[in-house]
């Protein structure tokens, strides 16, 4: 093989990298490595001028390999591969050295960091020398989409796709559609009817010819890859169905926090301590009463139950504050004689019309009392002489007083938490979860509905707590993505997958069982195994396991990794 012509491009990333790492030194070093033709530094290599610089150099210096020392490949590998392609270079002739996330940012000592940057860069240069041009495959995109969850997010996504003319399979675990929203009557901050909203969506879903609705069902297995998934769906009472799918939208929603876990609220023990959803029932039925069928004179509403707490969930559940304000006003108008006391930490009235809504809560003479984070009030039964059923004791933050709050009814604003089965679902569709169990998006900001697994999208509260408008927006965003891909018809599959060199394969079939995606088939005649490249997800388990070293992981060959090791330690 002729001496490679490698171009090395080092990114200052503004000052993100250049402040810690001596980029010029890296550049100088790169030029000393055999096979490096050009080496440059630039402020933002990912910017348009940066990419154009790469393209120009590839053409001018007839580069056949490119190394970009910049941020994490998870951030910009695609970007630079595109650039190479634009210059007529095979995208797999690119290698990135992660000198930002794993060097400039976590290290303070400039010298040591530069040292490490040199190692990482040389590793990349060594590796890229061993890389080969690879071609991806194209596959059909099946227009059918599987939507998991029949809540507001799921139904909206399904309808959006169906109205766009694409078939949808909507799978719902429960025996009816609507999800958690079906338990709500009015919505904050405009007190619109959630019932109407849900009724509309349900009726349209049921009426849509494009939507195959499967109630009391759940996904059993999902195999294949984007555009060509195969799903097994089981229905209670032994029904089983399979479906060919192009994409999947996970909209499994949330589960309410179990109030009983906060022991000192005595939920489940004190009869008149109820959850927000139980109050919602009372309001819908028009009977706001204590267990003893008395109209309450004092109702205390406690925010952040299970949320914003060191003990339970660290995060804010986003919708409870406004829901609490809603309750305060609803109770006041249903039982005018009643006094409402609202016990909160910070009032989250950030959305459209919400600050106004909060003010109306004040005008309704709600008594707002502030408690400190992780300093929950505790509840005790009142004495006979008191004119109330219970007494809440807390340290009020805005007055600095330790106070006692009369209450006949205590409403716990239970937060949202990931569903118990979210782990299971994550496994089935092969996406990851964060420490709280919410599904992780492929990028928290610029790609909030896609996931790290191609063809799997998330929408609504299964990704994190959200209010209705934001869930609906996400559902439509996911639908848009899928419509876009369906419109394209074909899909490119990454060229990274495993290959069996049949000359070396002993036909021991060890790999066949090993592959989690059963992507390796055994050919009875040839007595050899081979990989179904489209199904292979390139984990490389088989490669490491093959006793005769017959399996090769494209783009992660032993050669390449050895070279990388040499590079690091050179």
């Amino acid at each position: 093989m002729s001496e490679p012509r490698t171009g090395v491009f080092i990114c200052n990333c503004g000052t993100n990298i250049a402040n810690v790492i001596d980029v010029e030194a890296v550049r100088a070093f790169a030029l000393t490595v055999p096979g490096v033709t050009v080496a440059r530094t630039y402020r933002y290599v990912c910017s348009k001028p940066g990419q154009e610089m790469i393209i120009k150099d590839i053409k001018e210096h007839a580069l056949d390999r490119v190394v970009v020392a910049a941020c994490s490949p998870r951030m910009h590998e695609k970007t630079f591969r595109k650039a190479c392609q634009a210059a007529g270079l095979n995208p797999y002739m690119l290698e990135m050295a992660n000198i930002r996330e794993q060097c400039a940012w976590p290290h303070v000592d400039g010298l040591a960091a530069t040292e490490k940057a040199l190692a990482l860069t040389s590793a990349a240069i060594f590796r890229v020398r061993q890389q080969e041009p690879l071609e991806g495959l194209t596959a059909e995109m099946c227009p059918t989409t599987l939507v998991l969850g029949g809540g507001i997010a799921g139904m909206t996504a399904a309808l959006e796709l169906a109205d766009g003319g694409h078939p949808v399979v909507l799978v719902e675990k429960a025996e009816r559609l609507g999800g958690n929203l079906a338990r709500v009557d009015l919505t904050a901050p405009y007190l619109d009817s959630a019932r109407d909203l849900i009724t509309e969506r349900i009726t349209r879903v049921q009426g849509s010819s494009k939507i195959k609705l499967m109630l009391r069902s759940q996904l059993k297995s999902l195999t294949g890859f984007v555009g060509n998934f195969d799903a097994e769906i089981v229905t209670d009472g032994g029904g089983e169905a399979t479906a060919r799918l192009g994409n999947v939208i996970v909209a499994t929603g949330y589960k309410e926090f179990d109030a009983a876990r906060v022991t000192h609220f005595g939920y489940g023990k004190l009869p008149n301590v109820i959850t927000s959803f139980e109050l919602e029932k009372m309001l819908t039925a028009g009977r706001i009463e204590t267990r003893e069928d008395r109209k309450p004179q004092y109702v205390a509403i406690i925010h952040c139950v299970g949320s914003r707490s060191a003990e339970f969930h660290g995060y804010c559940s986003r919708v409870c504050c406004m829901t609490a304000i809603k309750y305060a006003q609803e109770i006041k108008s249903a039982v005018p004689s009643c006094h409402v006391l609202d016990i909160y930490i910070d009032m989250n009235a950030f959305g459209k019309g919400q600050e106004d809504f909060y003010k109306r809560g004040s005008e309704a003479k709600t008594m707002f009392l502030m408690f400190g984070k992780n300093d929950y009030p505790f509840i005790r039964k009142a004495d006979a002489k008191d004119d109330c059923d219970m007494l809440l004791v807390m340290d009020e933050q805005l007055s600095g007083k330790r106070i006692e709050i009369p209450a006949d009814l205590v409403v716990l604003m239970v937060g949202m938490e990931a569903r118990a089965d979210s782990g299971e679902v994550a496994h089935l569709v092969n996406i990851s979860r964060d420490k709280d169990g919410w599904f992780i998006e492929s990028h928290p900001k610029l790609d909030p509905v896609a996931t790290t697994t191609d063809g799997i999208y998330i929408a609504g509260c299964c990704a994190a707590p959200k209010d209705i408008p934001d869930s609906v927006a996400q559902a439509r965003a996911a639908a848009a993505r899928i419509m876009g891909r369906i419109a394209k018809g074909k899909i490119e599959i990454e060229a990274v997958y495993a290959e069996v060199d049949e000359d070396f394969c002993s036909g021991c079939r060890m790999c066949n069982e090993l592959c989690p995606y059963s992507a390796i088939e055994y050919d009875e005649e040839k007595k050899r195994s081979h990989v179904i490249s489209a199904v292979c997800k390139a984990c490389g388990a088989c490669v490491a396991a093959c006793p005769s070293g017959a399996i090769k992981a494209r783009h992660f060959t032993d050669k390449q990794i050895f070279a990388e090791i040499e590079g690091v330690l050179a």
């Binding site: 794993q102 976590p106 420490k435 984990c539 388990a541 490491a544 992660f556 050895f562």
Partner: protein, 144 residues
């Protein structure tokens, strides 16, 4: 001056590498001694990688994968887990101290944990001093 060990890290793309990136984006500071090589899954890590690294002068090797049960490829990390004891045995025969090669589980959200693992490992390896067995290992590798 104190001895600065060179450690090679093999990280799986989905959990550990992401976790390492997270440590960076959250500006969690840790020792610069570990240089990372990305593989798709910990299951891909062939024992020879480790031997090669040690042979080429690494003072230690760190292997990170998703927590058991969290593997992006459902059970790749179990494969690594099973493979590891064997590897350790082999290394012991080569007279390589236990602390030089290490397997850890780091998830995508555990930037802090990754930093802690790196710092701890660096300390231990620094305590052990330079790797003794570069040469003879190299010869073995040549035969292979």
């Amino acid at each position: 001056m104190t001895f600065e060990p060179k450690i090679v890290g093999f990280l799986c793309n989905w959990c550990s590498y992401t976790g390492a990136d997270l440590a960076g984006t959250s500006r969690i500071h840790y020792a610069p001694n570990v240089s990372v090589i990305r593989v798709m899954c910990s299951a891909r890590i062939d024992p020879t990688f480790v031997l090669k690294a040690l042979a080429d002068g690494a003072d230690g090797v760190l292997i990170c994968g998703c927590h058991p049960g969290d593997c992006h490829y459902t059970e790749g990390n179990y494969k690594m887990m099973r493979r590891f004891p064997l590897l350790k045995k082999l290394l012991a025969d080569y007279g390589i101290e236990n602390d030089r090669v290490r397997l850890e589980w780091v998830s995508a959200s555990e930037g802090q944990r990754f930093a802690d693992v790196v710092n701890d490992m660096t300390e231990r390896v620094r305590a052990l001093g330079p790797s003794p067995v570069k040469m003879d290992l190299a010869t073995d590798m040549a035969e292979r």
